[in-house]
C-alpha cells in the first residue's frame, strides 16, 4: 500500500537563523491511519505540520528528499495546485483553537469559505451544507450558531466549528495541531472522540500535541520530537511501554497523572539533606534503564542542587516547621473560609464555598473554566470583596478588614500565578523584584538574601541583573516562587502555576514546590484545571463546578472513590497514558 503522505528528510530553516528548526524528519501516513507527533515548545512539531501544507512562513526555507501527497510532489507543486490541495484534500485544524476563526465573520461564512473555494455550490446550497456539517460535528442548534461569531461560542464549539470547516470537503488527510489545547478536559474528550470517529470513517490523521496522553488515545504510531529532530518513533504502545530514548522516558515520567502525592516527577535529585532516601520516579519503578536523574532538559537551565544546609545557617529561613509536622492532620489551621459568595451581576461566580487549610498541607481546588476557582483565589487574597462569607488568615480577621488593617498580615500569605511574567513590573530586574519582596525599605543584605533565594529555587545569582522577559517560562515561574517565599509566608495561593509550562518544566516546578513545602512548612491553596497535577500535589481536594463545591475530601479517596457524578465524569474525561506506560 502506498502511503497517503510521505515525508523524507524534511528540513526547515528560518532566514537569519543559525540552525534548522526541523532537521531530517521522516514519516509516512497511510490512509485511515492516525499518527501522533509529540514534543514540547520549540520542538518543531508545528513547523513540521505547516511545512507539509506549504505554510511554513515566508521567511522559511523548506527542503525535503521526498514530500509527497498521494503521489503528488508537494515541493514541485505550483501555488495554485497547493491551494487546491489545501482544504480539499488536506484539512488543517490549527493551533490556537480559540483564535483560528475570524472574529469579524460569522461561523457559517468561515465554514462556507471552504465550500466556496472548492465547489460550485450556490450560496443557498452552501448554507444547507454548512448546517449539515455543524450538526455532524456535534454543534447544537446549527441554525443559530451559523449566524454567530467566534466570541459568542464556547471554546469547545469553536473547535468543533473549525473541524467542520476542515472536513467540509471530506479531505483524505486531516492535520490537527494542538486541537484540544486550552480546552476543558470534558470538552477535550468530546473533540478527541470526534476526531477518532473521522478516522474510523477513513480519514487519515496527523495529530500534534504536547500532551502524550492525548496522542496515545488516538495514534497508532507516534513520533517524539525534540529540538527539531525525531528522537524516537514507532508503534504507540511500544514507544510508551518500552521507550528507548532517554527523552521519551523523561517525558513519560514527567506526566503527573496517576502519580500520587510525594513521588517526584522531574530529573533533579532531591537534596540529600532534606530527604536522604527519596526515590526518583524511575528508580521507584525498578526500571533498570538509564536513570532519568542524569538528564537535564534543554531550554531550561539545569537545576542546581539546593544548598540548603549552608543556606539555613545564615539565611532568614529558620525552618519554622519540620517536615514531620507536615503530614499531621491535626496541625493548626492557617486559612479558613466559610460561606463565601461572590456575584457578578446576575451570575453567581462563587456559591457558598468553605474550607480549611492546615499548616504544611496542600488543598487542591480543581474545576473547569468558569467553575469559580480563580475567584476563590482572589477572594482568599482579598483582591475581591466577598458578597457574604468570611476568610480568616492565621486565625485573624482578614476578609472583613480594611486593606490598611490587612497590610500587617499580607507578608504571611503570598501568591503565584499562571502568567508569572505579567506579574513582574516590566521595568524591574530579577534582583529588584526579589529584593522588593524581601525588604520593606533598604537593606544592605538584600542583595545577598536575594541570591540565596534564587539559589533556593534552583537559579544562579547571575540572573539577578536580568530582566524576567528574557528568561524561559520555567525560570520566570521560579523567580515568582522566590518572590512569594521571600517574606516567609505561611500560605501561598497558587493559581494555575504550571498550566502554561511544558510537562518537563512543569515537573520541575511541581517538585520545587514540594521541596519548599517540606523544608519551610508552607501551606498551599493550589488551583488547577488539571486533574493529574491536582492529584499529584494535593493532600485534600475540592472539586468545583459552576461556583459550588460538588465534592471535597482526602485526595486519594476522592480520586479513587468519587461520590459525585460530576467528579466521575471529570475523571473519566482526563486523558491518561496507557497503564503500562504510567507504571514505567
Amino acid at each position: 500500500m502506498t502511503a497517503l503522505l510521505e515525508v523524507r528528510g524534511l528540513d526547515v530553516r528560518f532566514a537569519g537563523a543559525a540552525a534548522s528548526v526541523v532537521k531530517d524528519v521522516s514519516f509516512d501516513v497511510q490512509p485511515g491511519e492516525c499518527i501522533g507527533i509529540v514534543g514540547e515548545s520549540g520542538s518543531g512539531k508545528s513547523v513540521t505540520a505547516r511545512a507539509v501544507l506549504g505554510l511554513a512562513s515566508r521567511t522559511a526555507t523548506v527542503r525535503a528528499e521526498t514530500l509527497r501527497f498521494d503521489g503528488t510532489d508537494l515541493q514541485a507543486a505550483s501555488p495554485r495546485l497547493l491551494r487546491q490541495l489545501r482544504g480539499k484534500e488536506i484539512g488543517f485544524v490549527s493551533q490556537g483553537a480559540l483564535v483560528a476563526l475570524d472574529p469579524l465573520r460569522t461561523v457559517g461564512r468561515e465554514i462556507g469559505d471552504a465550500l466556496r473555494l472548492h465547489t460550485d455550490l450556490s450560496p443557498t446550497e452552501r448554507r444547507a451544507r454548512v448546517l449539515e456539517l455543524l450538526a455532524e460535528v456535534g454543534v447544537p442548534e446549527p441554525r443559530v450558531r451559523a449566524d454567530q461569531r467566534a466570541d459568542q461560542l464556547s471554546g469547545g464549539l469553536r473547535q468543533r466549528a473549525i473541524i467542520a470547516s476542515a472536513i467540509a470537503l471530506r479531505p483524505r488527510l486531516l492535520i490537527a495541531d494542538e486541537p484540544t489545547t486550552a480546552l476543558d478536559s470534558t470538552v477535550q474528550a468530546g473533540i478527541l472522540d470526534l476526531l477518532e470517529s473521522l478516522r474510523a470513517q477513513g480519514t487519515a490523521l496527523v495529530l500534534i500535541s504536547h500532551d502524550l496522553a492525548v496522542v496515545s488515545r488516538l495514534a497508532s504510531t507516534v513520533l517524539v520530537m525534540r529540538g527539531g529532530t525525531v528522537v524516537e518513533s514507532g508503534n504507540t504502545a511500544r514507544v510508551l511501554g518500552d521507550p528507548q530514548h532517554d527523552y521519551t522516558r523523561q517525558l513519560i515520567a514527567a506526566v503527573p497523572t496517576d502519580r500520587p502525592r510525594g513521588t517526584r516527577l522531574g530529573a533533579a535529585p532531591r537534596p540529600a539533606a532534606l530527604s536522604p532516601g527519596a526515590p526518583t520516579a524511575a528508580a521507584s519503578s525498578g526500571n533498570s534503564g538509564v536513570m532519568p536523574a542524569t538528564i537535564a532538559f534543554e531550554a531550561e537551565t539545569p537545576v542546581r542542587p539546593s544548598l540548603t544546609p549552608e543556606f539555613a545557617k545564615d539565611a532568614p529561613f529558620d525552618g519554622a516547621t519540620t517536615p514531620a509536622e507536615t503530614t499531621d492532620a491535626t496541625a493548626d489551621v492557617v486559612l479558613e473560609a466559610s460561606g463565601l459568595v461572590r456575584r457578578f451581576g446576575s451570575r453567581t461566580a462563587v456559591d457558598d464555598v468553605g474550607f480549611v487549610l492546615r499548616r504544611g498541607r496542600t488543598l487542591g481546588v480543581v474545576g473547569e473554566s468558569g467553575s469559580g476557582k480563580t475567584t476563590v483565589a482572589r477572594l482568599v487574597l482579598a483582591l475581591e470583596r466577598a458578597d457574604s462569607g468570611t476568610v480568616r488568615v492565621l486565625g485573624e480577621r482578614w476578609s472583613e478588614s480594611t486593606e490598611r488593617e490587612r497590610r500587617r498580615l499580607r507578608p504571611r500569605i503570598g501568591a503565584i500565578y499562571q502568567d508569572a511574567l505579567s506579574s513582574f513590573d516590566p521595568r524591574w530586574t530579577v534582583g529588584q523584584i526579589i529584593e522588593d519582596a524581601l525588604t520593606r525599605g533598604r537593606s544592605r543584605r538584600a542583595g545577598e538574601d536575594a541570591a540565596h533565594l534564587l539559589d533556593r529555587v534552583g537559579l544562579g545569582p547571575e540572573l539577578l541583573g536580568r530582566r524576567p522577559r528574557l528568561l524561559s517560562g520555567g525560570q520566570q515561574q521560579r523567580v515568582a516562587i522566590a518572590r512569594a517565599i521571600a517574606p516567609r509566608p505561611d500560605i501561598i495561593v497558587c493559581d494555575e502555576p504550571v498550566s502554561s509550562l511544558d510537562v518537563s518544566v512543569q515537573a520541575q516546578v511541581l517538585d520545587l514546590l514540594d521541596d519548599l513545602q517540606a523544608s519551610l512548612g508552607i501551606s498551599y491553596l493550589f488551583i488547577s484545571h488539571d486533574l493529574g497535577v491536582i492529584r499529584h500535589v494535593s493532600d485534600d481536594v475540592l472539586v468545583m463546578r459552576a461556583g459550588a463545591v460538588v465534592e471535597g475530601g482526602n485526595t486519594e479517596s476522592v480520586f479513587l472513590r468519587p461520590s459525585h457524578e460530576y467528579t466521575r465524569a471529570l475523571l473519566d474525561s482526563a486523558p491518561r497514558l496507557p497503564a503500562r506506560a504510567a507504571a514505567t
Partner: protein, 268 residues
Amino acid sequence: MVRRLGPLEVAAVATIALLALAALAPGVLAPGDPLAIDPLSSFESPSFAHPFGTDESGRDIYTRVVHGTGASLLIGLAATAIGIGLALAFGLLAGFGPRWLDFGTTRVIEVLFAFPGLLFALLFIVVYGPGVVTSTIAVGLSTAPGYARIIRSQVIRVRTSPYLEAATVLGRGRTARIVRHVLPNVAGALFVLATLGIGQSIVWASSLSYLGLGAVPPAAEWGAMLSAGRTYIASFWWMTFFPGLFIVLSAAATTLLGRSLQQNVRAS
C-alpha cells in the same frame, strides 16, 4: 535590550544631532549674521555663496534658517511641554481620583476634543492676541486633550495590571504602588508620546506663524520666514522652500525616533 538601529534611525539621530548643534551653536554652522541686510544682492537664487539663496533684503537664507533653528525647536518643545504637562495633571486626576472625578475629567476632555486642534489655538489667539508666546501656548493647549486621553488610559492600564496586584499581595500601600510602579511605567509611555508630539507641535506652531498669528518677520524663525516668503512664492521659491524643508526634516526625524522608541518599549 535595545534593538540594533536601522539606517533610518541612524539618519534620524544624525539629523536631530545636527539640528541640536544649529540650535545651541548656530555660529558653528553659519558664521554670518542672520539679520545682516544687503540690498544689492536681494532675491538671489541658490548659489555657491548663498546655498539657499537670499530674501527681499538680501539676507542669506541659509544663515537665517540655521539661526532660526533654536527659536523654532524651542517653540515646539515648549508647546509639547505645556501640552503634556496639562495632560499629565488631567490624566493622573482621572486615572487615580475617585470615580466621579474620572467621570468629570473625562467629560471635560471629551468637550475639548470637539475643538479640532487649530480651532482651539485660533480661539485662544482671538482672546490673547497673536504673538510667539500666545501661539506656543495655543499649540500646547490644543494638543493637551489628546495626550490626556492617552495618559489616562496608560494609568488605568498599569493600575489594573497583574504586577500591581502582585504588589498589593506583597502588602504595598497605595502610595507605594503609585510611586514605585505606576509613575515609572507611565513615564516611559510619556517619553515616547513627547518625542512623537514635538514634530507635530513644530508643524502647528509654524502654521500659525505662516498665518501671521505667531512669530513675525524679520525674526529668524522658520514659520515667520515662510510667512515673509509667501508674497514672493511665484518668483522666488527658495524663500519658502528651505525653511519648510527644515520643518519637515525636524518633524520627520523626531517622529521616526519616537516610533523607534515606541517599538523598543513594545518589544520589552
